[in-house]
Amino acid sequence: MSYRSIAIMGTLALAAAAAVAQAPAKTWTPSRTADGQPDLQGTWTNATLTPLQRPPELAGKEFFTEEEQAAFEKKRLQQNDVESVDDGKRGPADLARRAYNGAWFDRGSHGVNTRRTSLVVEPSDGRIPPMTPEGKKKFDEAHSNFAAHPADGPENRPLSERCILFPNAGPPMLPEPYNNNYQIVQSPGFVTIMAEMVHDVRVVPLDGRPHLPSNIRQWKGDSRGHWEGNTLVIDTTNFSYNDKSRFGVAYDGFTDQNLHVTERFTRTGPGTITYRATVDDPTIYSKPWTIETTLSKRDEPIYEYACHEGNYGMFGILSGERTQEKTAAAKAK
């Protein structure tokens, strides 16, 4: 072999290596709406088996292998199915966990496609950071108030039971045990996000207008959006303060009026949007935290969720509490 051919081969090898190194990650360019926005429109779901926070047993493990993820999904499906964990012992302690079989729910059957072990991606331990002393104090007060007054009236109950706000709507938009469906509609100058639960709609202006005055507070806050390349960035402030959690079944956490959420929606393929949301509430959390999940296309319509229509549950909870009070009073006599 001549020097020349070795040199050619060497050059080719280097070129090949460079090509591998520089090969762009698989990219996908979204189509545009009539007014030129990257197209996010459609019906989407964020149902996932991946937990919000990394389970302590998986400390230090940020990603599953494909095989590990499959085993994890199988285990989660079994855990979600009360039939398979029913050991015949039934009682009050079991009620919250096993009151309904798994078919009531729609948590999906897979973890996130990045194979991360938690939806929390920052901090890198996959856990929501500790509360500040002030945040912990507010959190503890809220819990003791709730324990002392679980159902004096509807105002004592969580926002979701009152049909006011579900964590699905967010922001941040977090998956719940069912109805994790969204519809995104774009019109010139606006992106509108509707959560099936509880048909909560955010109309997000893109024209750079300032946030509402700070004295105007809303359950879903006040959202303003802009595009950074193909990524929709939504900045939300002006949240209402209530001493109940806005995070639902995944986490008892707490936020106050200083909550600031930054969301990023990036269409990564015909059937996927990567969703990231950073939660920053300096009064409550020692540092910001970020979740990442996938919105997958769902070829189904959104159904109505008229939560107030037949909310017999609230009636049942309040009348149950009154019955217990009467029983306790009768015993005391």
Partner: protein, 132 residues
């Protein structure tokens, strides 16, 4: 790794979970009801099945049984035709705390032993497939 995965405990249910089952139903009152469907209410946030239950002395009592969200049921293929008046069902659940004839329908089984709500969340429903 497999061993680690299999030891993951059931996640605790936070105090503020939606629809606090323990606030509405009494864990000390598990009920098994055999009855005839009189109607099904397809309403949110939860559907309700009404059944006539014949007691030992022949007296008939109407019970209301709470089901899942109609949206989820529809996506699982449960329709108005699935539960109709006159069908016999067996309900396994817990009675309401206020002592009225209401229960949650943990399991609803037909006379032929077939369960109305299959006990698995792995539905294979559209949208339930991961995007790669």
């Amino acid at each position: 790794m497999r061993k680690i995965i299999l030891t993951i405990s059931l996640l605790a249910v936070p105090m503020w979970a939606h629809h606090a089952f323990t606030a509405e139903f009494d864990g000390n009152k598990p009920v098994k009801l055999r009855g005839t469907v009189t109607k099904m209410e397809w309403i949110n946030p939860h559907a309700w099945i009404h059944i006539d239950v014949k007691e030992a002395d022949g007296k008939v009592t109407n019970w209301m049984v709470e089901c899942g969200s109609p949206n989820t049921l529809l996506r699982r293929g449960v329709t108005k035709a699935s539960v109709t008046a006159g069908m016999e069902v067996l309900v396994d659940g817990y009675q309401s705390k206020d002592g009225s004839n209401k229960a949650n329908g943990r399991d609803v089984t037909f006379a032929d032993g077939k369960k109305l709500f299959l006990g698995s969340s792995n539905t294979g429903a559209p949208g339930d497939t991961p995007e790669k």
